[in-house]
């Protein structure tokens, strides 16, 4: 680890920063980040072109076979980096195209709002052209006629960089009509969101993009059948799209090889750590890197604290324990442990932190960010918040923990309209499983009658 990279905590203004020096990164091993500069400045078009930029677009458009792009992506098995891990190639292969089907949209999900997640902004702030390049390939493969980057509203720096890069790309003929003489037209606009977590759900994102309430849509039909404005649309995460150029340029086998024998998932992953560690930050590492290795890169726990638990990929993933640190962090392995890889950015919980308070905090977030469409999420999550508040204050009653169990179970996958409530239920369910005694300490009363002693709003 180079000393030239200042510690995150020493900088006055937060900047997304990769904690790997240029010397460690190469085109062969770090497809996402090898072009990034140690000084953290954005890689603009000239530099990007010098570093093989837009070569994949040139290649794909020259070959003139969109289906081959899809086949490559499928073979490389690039799994959705937004957290769901769905094969991007498979998603693309299901997009309706041809016949009298209208050309639709390629939408980049840049609404990075998962608590504890800060990877997409790095790519957008420092290497905007990689995303644009990936979007051109995605659009080409899916026959999309326009692209939107649905950007988290608070990411003003990303917006500034992306817009400048889009202008550069358009100026240079990488966007707009007849890209690089191929006859393929495509352009991109940046749409900044108004700030709702649910906009990261791809169909809620589309509704929001259309100017509607950000409620998710029922699936099927999937966006590939009827997406934005009813046209076939593809929504991919920033990191997913940023993987595409290297896959097209170097091939699926190379991509698969990046992760070695750690996992059957190919490629690299932007992993990161937040919480009380020495060096919170981001690293591009082979897919399947263990939690222990990542934590080591982060310098271990700060001030000799003990690790109690960790979330592998954002607030909507389940808690893992120190004993899970040696597992390879890929989609399937983490899934088998009752959690999800999610975004791959670890949140660590030190021994002295109250799981009840932590869960109350998380559930407040999820309850607040519910779109209000389906009942379990809209009315179930606020109840968990109230119960957790009560437990936190020692006001819990007998039966409250069982009620939380039931609420978490009732918010599980398939029971709610989208994945928001299951995302809220997973940390709750795992916290109750692993740290039940902490919750039990909050039960201070026998079961009372409802409204026997009404509790003022805002207190409990």
């Amino acid at each position: 680890m180079s000393q030239s990279i200042p510690s995150q905590r020493q900088s006055t203004q937060y900047r997304s920063r990769l904690l790997q020096p240029e010397t460690e990164r190469s085109a062969d091993t770090h497809p996402l980040t090898w072009r990034l500069r140690d000084d953290g400045e954005a890689v603009w078009l000239d530099e990007y072109l010098r570093k093989d930029g837009y070569q994949s677009v040139r290649k794909a458009l020259n070959e003139g076979d969109p289906q081959a792009v899809i086949a490559n992506m499928k073979e490389a098995n690039v799994r959705g980096r937004g957290g769901a891990g769905f094969s991007a190639g498979l998603k693309w292969s299901l997009t309706l195209q041809g016949g009298d089907m209208p050309r639709g949209y390629l939408i980049c999900n840049a609404d990075e709002m998962e608590p504890g997640t800060f990877k997409d902004r790095l790519l957008m702030e420092q290497q905007p052209h990689l995303l644009i390049e990936g979007m051109i390939l995605g659009a080409y493969a899916n026959n999309s006629f326009y692209g939107y980057i649905f950007l988290r509203g608070e990411y003003v720096e990303s917006a500034r960089v992306l817009n400048r890069a889009i202008d550069e790309a358009r100026e240079a003929g990488w966007l707009g009509p007849d890209i690089n003489g191929s006859g393929f037209d495509f352009d991109i606009a940046v749409h900044t969101g108004a700030g709702r977590y649910i906009c990261g759900e791809e169909t809620a994102l589309i509704n929001s993009l259309e100017g509607k309430r950000a409620n998710p849509r029922a699936k099927p039909p999937f966006p590939g059948q009827s997406g934005a404005w009813g046209k076939p649309s593809v929504v991919n995460n920033v990191e997913t799209l940023c993987n595409v150029p290297a896959v097209i340029l170097n091939g699926a086998d190379w991509y698969q090889g990046l992760s070695g024998d750690r996992t059957k998932d190919g490629g690299t992953k932007l992993y990161g750590v937040s919480g009380p560690v020495e060096k919170p930050g981001l690293w591009e590492l082979p897919m399947g890197t263990t939690g222990a290795e990542i934590l080591e890169r982060a310098g271990g726990m700060r001030d000799n604290r003990q690790l109690k638990a960790w979330l592998p990929g954002g607030a909507s993933t389940g808690f893992l324990l120190p004993e899970h640190l040696d597992l390879p962090l890929d989609f399937d392995t983490v899934g088998k442990e009752g959690s999800r890889l999610g975004t791959g950015l670890l949140t660590v919980v030190p021994q002295e932190m109250s799981m009840v308070a932590l869960m109350r905090n998380l559930e407040e977030f999820f309850a607040r960010e519910s779109c209000g469409w389906c009942t379990p999420c809209r009315d179930g999550l606020p109840w968990t918040v109230k119960l957790l508040q009560a437990l936190e204050h020692g006001q819990g009653e007998e039966g409250d923990i069982e009620l939380l169990d039931k609420l978490a179970a009732d918010c599980g996958p398939g029971l709610t309209f989208c994945a928001h409530a299951p995302g809220a239920a997973m940390p709750l369910e795992t916290a109750l499983r692993h740290f039940r005694h902490e919750f039990e300490q909050g039960v201070g009363k026998p079961r009372g009658e409802a409204h026997e002693d009404p509790i003022p709003v805002g207190q409990v």
């Binding site: 039909p221 009813g230 779109c371 009942t375 309209f417 509790i455 003022p456």
Partner: protein, 905 residues
């Protein structure tokens, strides 16, 4: 058809439906909220969870929302699965978290879907011990009360109001557990279909304000199957009565006419029945200006028959707002030669033409429900929402149904509502409307703001393009030619083109043009349709019965060829200029008026007989389809007001006829009159079959008008006498004025006074009375069609009006008006609050000629001041005036408008 397996039983179901609808249609109870049979599925409430198994070998399965799962062949589900039941209990528990425990004071109580579903899922203990969320309510105008604390966030209100009915001023605001359904600011809900919110809302957020002031629980109301009298649509309604007044109107499900929805005129326009100034006793007036004296029935009948007997000739003036039976009895009383329909001559000619076109153009008239399946519509000279309320909703669904066709191509089922909305966006089936001013359908239509003659010329031009054998329109300007081409192209490209026209413009040429288009289409596409809108509830019926025009009757009187007149439920001043009516009535020595309202005509009567409104009487109406439908008496006015002498007009007229023959007025019943009417008029023969006769019984029982929980019967009359009299006996119908009698759903029947089934108290109980949910009544939808397509040949009409030339006269263009344009509902208070302020629409040129600007006021003679509304594309030479504003004003009448000077009007 598909076979599904539910809890081990095999059932045959409609595979195009979702599992929820299929199961409800089988009579299996699954609780639900956000789903509605007319509005499809959205999967929001999660209440209808069931367990679904992959196949025979799958014993694990997973919970699915039955509303979002297709009822595909070989689907295996369990409703009774313990985990599914537990999850459904959780859902209702969540919904009840913030719901107030105000059922005892909530107006929804007793017909509340939320109550029913809560009981069904077994939730009866509150575990949520924290404080509830509370909200502010909004003032939403004279029709709808708002109580947001009760909201369970099912989204049905906005889905109905915006997606189904095209409203724009009700929305969902906020997020998480604080979604607010209301207007962005307080104010009257603008949609003319807002009243349906009271039934669409599964709980008490939106309730009927007209009911609120005289509130009665559903189980304490007395009902009868009735038919709305406020336009020609013939929507089936279920009026509820308590203590001798109508307390509310609810939709009565009819699979072909109104489905689940009514317009606000029909729902809130009943107040005229309850007016305190209604005539209750026969009255007599020696001189026109005298205060009347009341008479006993026998005295009144004797005096009237005496005087009539001494008159030389009696003219009878019928009414298109009275039943066929009453009109027929009047005709019997005065003789066919002396019978007038009470309809103004030009309107009557239009009505006759409409009957003829329905028979001869070769296109059949679809039912309102069938309209929704038409894939291109041309409306020629009508504003359907204003003239036929509910019909506009059907036409909107036709335009929206393009989505279903698009969805079919990529496998989105017709019930997946939000997905279809997404797919369809703003793409609609073509809907062309030739009408001079804005309509409620404009957001899904292309409208051509033309004057009446130009509308006709456009129509003739369309017909000629479709079939070159139809006459050519001379001197057609290029713009109209292009429009005609566009319309014709759309109609010809459609599988089921529909032509809609009607009598609103009172224009022979517009109707002839519509007829030519229909005929031209009939030669190409047999699946096309023709819908012709009449003005009043029984306009079609009166036209089929026939009779002289009102103008003829006025002439007969004015010219002294008759000296007595009997007017049936008709305010002649609404139809002809006051001067003309005054003149005619002044010449009649005897003026007998039967009505339930104190009209200007009734004020001129020498004898008044208090007639029954739809609420106190039975009879038959014919709607715009040509469907004869029976409405049944809701309550007996004399039971609670013994002084009242209200009877059906046909009963009064029967007694008068007997008196004239010097016979005792033996009692007569409805069936006899109906049969006599059917026999006398070949076109009406089928009307007997419109509903079962008085002898109809189910399991040997009469049909109950009152729910079995009806309370207070023995006490409700105690202020008059502590001994309870025998309940009134109904010799006219199979219904009893009692909770005793059949009120179940297991025996298929057409005539359902109120929908109730065990566990189903809300309007959703209609699910139990239909062959499949959202289908037809299990005993068949009520009514019988009297007008049929006839084989034969119609010659194309050649009556093409000449192109308009510049004239200096300003002519009246009377615009149908949902609120105020109908004589009786305009007398109901909430409707009066919704009537537009007096307005006159002018184009800029005409406004300039009158030296007025937008917002100035004009008067016509001694009319109320009318605010000038300048409309850029309004046709020159016409002044647009809402119907009902200037009674007796004829369509196309030349007007001399003058500017009001100084001060407030």
């Amino acid at each position: 058809m598909a076979i599904i397996h539910v809890d081990g039983q095999d059932y045959e179901v409609n595979g195009a439906q979702n599992l929820l609808q299929a199961c409800l249609s089988l009579g299996l109870d699954i609780p639900y909220f956000c789903w509605h049979p007319a509005m499809g599925s959205v999967g929001a409430c999660r209440q209808c969870a069931v367990r679904q198994y992959k196949d025979e070998d799958d014993d694990k399965g997973s919970l699915v929302m039955s509303c979002m799962a297709p009822a595909a062949d070989q689907t295996r589900i369990s409703i009774e699965d313990e985990e599914a039941k537990a999850f459904r209990a959780s859902v209702v528990e969540w919904l009840m978290i913030n719901h107030p425990h105000d059922c005892p004071v909530c107006e929804e109580g007793g017909h509340c879907h939320l109550q029913d579903m809560t009981v069904m899922t077994g939730h009866d203990r509150r575990r949520y011990r924290f404080r509830k969320r509370t909200r502010r309510n909004q003032e939403l105008g004279p029709f709808i009360a708002h109580e947001m604390n009760r909201c369970i966030t099912c989204y049905r209100c906005v889905r109905f109001y915006n997606d189904y009915a095209g409203g724009t001023d009700l929305g969902a605001f906020g997020a998480k557990d604080n979604v607010y359904f209301g207007r962005y600011a307080e104010g009257t809900l603008e949609s003319p279909f807002a009243g349906n919110l009271t039934e669409v809302c599964p709980t008490g957020v939106f309730t009927d304000k007209s009911h609120s002031e005289q509130y009665t629980r559903k189980w304490d109301l007395q009902f009868a199957p009735s038919v709305c009298h406020q336009c020609s649509m013939g929507c089936n309604i279920s009026p509820g009565e308590r203590y001798g007044s109508i307390r509310r109107i609810e939709n009565r499900y009819h699979g072909e006419v109104n489905g689940y929805f009514l317009c606000d005129r029909g729902r809130f326009g009943y107040g005229y029945v309850n007016r305190s100034d209604r005539p209750l006793l026969p009255e007599w007036r020696q001189q026109p200006d005298e205060e009347p004296t009341t008479l006993e029935v026998d005295t009144a009948l004797a005096r009237i028959t005496d005087t009539l007997r001494h008159s030389q000739r009696v003219i009878g003036i019928g009414s298109p707002r009275a039943s066929l039976e009453s009109n027929h009895q009047l005709r019997e009383l005065v003789g066919a030669d002396n019978f007038s329909t009470g309809i103004e001559a030009r309107e009557q000619a239009c009505l006759a033409l409409m009957d003829d076109l329905q028979r001869t153009t070769g296109l059949h008239t679809p039912t309102p429900r069938q309209i929704e399946n038409h894939d291109a519509i041309l409306v020629l000279g009508e504003d359907p929402v204003q003239s036929a309320g509910r019909l506009g909703l059907n036409m909107r669904q036709a335009a929206l149904s393009r989505r279903e066709a698009m969805g079919e191509k990529i496998g989105i089922p017709a019930w997946n509502a939000e997905a279809l909305k997404t797919l369809g966006q703003d793409v609609y089936h073509p809907l062309h409307i030739a009408w001079p001013t804005a309509t409620e359908l404009d957001d899904v239509a292309t409208r051509y703001p033309l004057a009446p003659e130009e509308i006709a010329r456009l129509g003739f031009a369309v017909a000629h393009i479709i079939d070159p054998a139809a006459p050519v329109v001379d001197n057609l300007d290029p713009a109209t030619r292009d429009t005609a081409q566009r319309i014709a192209d759309d109609l010809m490209a459609a599988e089921r083109p529909l032509v809609v026209s009607g009598g609103s413009l009172v224009s022979d040429s517009v109707l002839q043009a519509a007829g030519n288009i229909a005929q031209a289409l009939a030669r190409r596409a047999r699946q096309g349709g023709l819908v012709l809108i009449r003005r009043e509830a029984n306009s079609t019926g009166l036209s089929l019965m026939g009779g002289q025009t009102l103008d003829w009757a006025m002439d007969e009187l004015t010219e002294g060829r008759a000296d007595a007149v009997v007017v049936l439920e008709n305010d002649l001043y609404q139809r002809l200029p006051a001067q003309r009516v005054d003149q005619a009535l002044a010449r009649a020595d005897i003026r007998v008026v039967l009505d339930h309202q104190r009209t200007a005509t009734l004020a001129r009567a020498s004898f008044t007989l208090p007639a029954a409104s739809f609420a106190e009487g039975d009879g038959t109406l014919v709607n715009l389809e040509g469907r004869a439908q029976r409405f049944f008496q809701v309550y007996e006015p004399g039971y609670l007001r013994p002084e009242a002498r209200i009877h059906e007009s046909w009963r009064w007229l029967h007694a008068l006829a007997a008196g004239l023959r010097r016979e005792d007025a033996t009692d007569v019943n409805l069936d006899e009159i109906t049969a006599a009417c059917a026999e006398a008029h070949p076109a009406l023969t089928g009307m007997v079959e419109a509903a079962p006769g008085a002898g109809y019984r189910i399991e040997g029982l009469r049909l109950a008008r009152e729910p079995h929980r009806y309370s207070g019967r023995t006490a409700m009359r105690a202020n008059l006498s502590v001994s309870e009299p025998r309940p009134p006996q109904d010799e006219d119908t199979p219904f009893a004025f009692s909770m005793e009698g059949y009120s179940g759903f297991d025996h298929p029947r057409q005539q359902v006074a109120f929908a109730w089934a065990p566990g189903w108290n809300s309007p959703q109980a209609w699910n139990k009375f239909t062959d499949e949910v959202g289908g037809h009544l299990s005993g068949g939808d009520p009514g019988i069609r009297l007008i049929h397509r006839q084989p034969g040949h119609r010659d194309y009409s050649l009556r093409i009006p000449a192109a308009a030339t510049a004239e200096n006269t300003l002519r009246a263009l009377v615009l149908p008006s949902l609120f105020g344009g109908d004589e009786t509902s305009a007398r109901a208070e909430p409707i009066q609050q919704r009537m537009a302020t007096p307005v006159v629409i002018l184009c800029h040129i005409d406004a300039e000629a009158l030296d007025v600007h937008h917002g100035d006021t004009l008067v016509l003679g001694d009319s109320p001041a009318m605010t000038v509304h300048e409309q850029d594309d309004w046709p020159t030479g016409w002044a647009g005036l809402p119907a009902g504003l200037l009674p007796g004003l004829a369509q196309g009448e030349a007007l001399t408008l003058s500017k009001t000077t100084g001060g407030e009007p």
